[in-house]
Amino acid sequence: MIEIRDFRKVYDGLLAVDQLSFSVKPGEVLGLIGPNGAGKTTTLRSLCGLVVPTSGHLSVCGYDIEKAPIEAKKRLCYIPDDPPLFSDLTVEQHLAFTASVYNVENATEKAAQLLETFELASKKTTRASDLSRGMRQKLAIICGYLHEPEVILLDEPMTGLDPHGIRKLKESIRIRAEQGAAIVISSHLLAMVEDFCTHVLILKSGQQRFCGTLDELKDSFVSHQNSMTLEQIFFHATETDSPSLVPSLTE
């Protein structure tokens, strides 16, 4: 579903991501974790076609994002942290535009259901500029879900959401994963990653420190210390200078 091989990105002489390789299959939820500036957002933006990769191969549902961007983009949605919206458009106009772009069938019913789920039904005619931070986030999520994407890319999705919103989003992620979507979530909320991500990818300074299931990650640390939490593992992985945390897994 998502396939990244030897992905590298350079910005003005700065190596943002170096030789990253991983894949996410249908139904899997990959937690992308790492300190600020580790390359998480660059990876997500390259996957959705916002950033052109310097080298490597990135594909979504078998379509190369560089060679067949239209086919790849039809199947994915990307929700950044603090999503920018069209300030003059209302909530329902954002949905109408999204429905038009993706040719969504029964868009009105689907939109109404999503608005109800994320408690935005009363804000249908409100302009985006009048929405709060959390509401903007919810609107971006609703628009992202509207065309039922097979690949969902979420960059810090919980930022700005209230506890209700966080619960709804978690539920929606679980449901969509069960329905076969491949999901990548970049987050600093390690407890949340531990809670519902099936796989974890740890990045540091653009380099992959670990990629595998949560159990594999924890198992690899049993030999070092007994039963470490993801938080302890994260700090261990990002505070050591060894190129790879668990060579046997990443190689």
Binding site: L14, P35, D88
Partner: protein
């Protein structure tokens, strides 16, 4: 037939247009904005109405001269874009808002569809420009709708040419860009020097036969030289593409040839749009190729996650600690980042105010007085809009500034310190040049050195006071901003007129005071000293009052509204 715009993008255009109209109407619900909008509308009507009426009832220009000037203006406008990209390499060839980036770039649109969308928005703005231009040129347009079409296509070509320049400049390799910059800069400088020399020579010749002031003769000579150059072979070659549009603007009768002309100009716009789409593809390829050409990745700097050690960190210079602390330093850093633009902004007031210094036919005293008057006028007129390194670029940081543990007056002074100091530095530099070229009496030199800093304090306090009363984001657009700008423009004009009238009145009064004091106190009876001291005290007092008012407004400001 395939529509020009993707239907979804067309829907977006419609949504945005209705949204903007709705937000404009909703802005009228706030009482203060309503008052400003009505006042602005009345003033805009008076200003524009007056301008349009005077234009409509004027006599038409000489067609031959009009054709040359129209062609020249369009060519100069296009040439400006070449100079701009060679002066400063643009960050991105085509500008997208953050919302457009997120919603459009991640959606399944072809790049060409997105480019058409961008071109559509750019050319929509051109339609408004062309409509205003056509109204102003109405007496010279034999067939108004054809004139509008010619103007629209001409301006559209220039807009597309601007994008082409940006695409080429960002797509070229660094070495190739440097070569292009050198070529354009040298050619431009050579042409400008030749035209200036000719204008000065013509001024010298005309002076003996004309009674007009030298400055006016110089302007007339400059225009004459430009007009002449566009009739020479190089001028005709350079301006040839623009001639097609101007000919359409001036077409007197509708014939089959006119239809061919219309077809030609539309074809030219379409071809230019096609070139933009092709160049964009080339541009993306070039940038990606440059990244892909990097062979040794190990030599690149890696993204670091750790914070740098800040224990030895402090403000870079003692002057900032004494002056306004971190607030002033922050504005100074912003100014440094835009130093190229600032240098460009300083060139027009420097040239315009220095012109009298280099006119040998006028006496030193008159040259210096003209120079100082020009320096004051052009500083007041041009620099405040270029030096927005104060509250005016901090719309999004007002809350942060309000939270600083400093009294309001100190924040205001710290905020305006950078533009005041840079403007003062510029003026003192110009005064030094004037003193070297023409010589200045010690009294006048001292008066100038003392007056300009306080005048700058008053000017920037005034600009910031207006901003704090009506805060708005930098580069914000829309009718509401246009109306506010009209009100501010009028207020500035009135303020300038009042200052001028007060100075005139004070000159009369100081004369009387001087004559009364002369008999009793000798030196104190010097009118110039009384006048100068009075003016200085008035400016300093204005600066002080305006700074206090700005501080009070800053205290009252509800920053959460921004």
């Amino acid at each position: 037939m395939q529509p020009f715009l993707n239907p979804s993008l067309w829907e977006l255009v419609q949504f945005r247009t209705t949204g903007r109209i709705r937000s404009l109407l909703s802005s009228f619900t706030h009482p203060r904005r309503l008052v400003i909008s009505i006042l602005g509308a009345v003033l805009a009507f008076v200003w524009l109405g007056n301008a349009i009426a005077s234009v409509l009832f004027r006599e038409s220009y000489n067609p031959k001269s009009f054709q040359i000037w129209m062609t020249a203006m369009l060519t100069i406008y296009a040439g400006w874009h070449l100079l701009r990209v060679s002066w400063q390499r643009p960050d991105a060839a085509i500008e997208w808002t953050p919302a457009e980036k997120m919603w459009l770039m991640t959606s399944p649109f072809r790049r060409s569809e997105l480019l058409k969308f961008r071109l559509f928005t750019v050319l929509s703005a051109t339609t408004i420009k062309a409509a205003i231009g056509a109204i102003l040129l109405l007496p010279d347009l034999p067939i108004p709708w054809l004139g509008f079409l010619g103007l629209w296509t001409g301006l559209a070509i220039i807009e597309l040419f601007r994008i082409v320049c940006d695409l080429v400049a960002t797509g070229l390799k660094p070495d190739a860009y440097r070569s292009m910059r050198a070529f354009i800069t040298v050619s431009g400088a050579a042409l400008l020097s030749a035209l200036t020399m000719n204008a000065l020579e013509l001024t010298r010749i005309s002076q003996s036969t004309s009674e007009l002031p030298t400055f006016i003769i110089l302007i007339k000579s400059g225009m004459h030289v430009i007009q002449d150059w566009f009739t020479t072979t190089p001028g005709l070659i350079v301006s040839a593409p623009m001639l097609v549009f101007v000919q359409l603007i001036l077409t007197p009768t509708l014939t089959i040839a006119t239809a061919a002309e219309v077809f030609t100009v539309l074809l030219m716009v379409a071809a230019m749009a096609g070139l933009v789409i092709r160049l964009d593809k080339w541009n993306v390829q070039q940038i990606t190729r440059r990244e892909k050409d990097i062979r040794n990745f190990n030599e690149l700097q890696r993204a670091e996650s750790e914070c740098n050690d800040l224990k030895d960190w402090k403000l870079p210079a003692t002057i900032f600690q004494k002056l306004g602390g971190a607030v002033t330093w922050r504005q100074f850093v912003g100014l440094q980042r835009h130093s190229t633009g600032i240098l460009l902004a300083l060139i027009p007031p420097a040239i315009l105010s220095a012109i009298p210094l280099f006119m040998p036919q006028i006496s030193d005293q008159i040259a210096i007085v003209n120079f100082l008057g020009g320096l004051t006028f052009y500083t007041f007129l041009l620099l405040p809009s270029a030096m927005k390194f104060d509250f005016r670029r901090d719309y999004d940081y007002l809350l942060l500034l309000k939270m600083l543990p400093q009294p309001a007056w100190r924040v205001v002074l710290s905020q305006i310190a950078t533009p005041v100091l840079v403007t003062t530095g510029f003026q003192l530099g110009m005064i030094a040049i004037a003193a070297l070229v023409r010589g200045m009496s010690p009294g006048l030199l001292l008066a100038s050195i003392l007056s300009f800093p306080v005048m700058n304090l008053a000017i920037y306090s005034w600009e910031n006071l207006i901003f704090l009363i009506f805060p708005q984001r930098l580069k914000q657009e829309g009718i509401e901003v246009f109306l506010l700008t009209t009100v501010i423009f009028t207020a500035k004009g009135l303020a300038f007129a009042c200052v001028f009238a007060l100075m005139f009145a004070w000159a009369m009064v100081s004369g009387r005071i001087a004559s009364q004091l002369a008999d009793v106190h000798g030196m104190l009876g010097n009118q110039r000293i009384i006048f100068g001291v009075g003016v200085w005290i008035s400016i300093a007092l204005s600066g002080f009052i305006l700074t206090r008012l700005a501080a009070r407004q800053f205290e009252k400001l509800d920053a959460s509204m921004s």
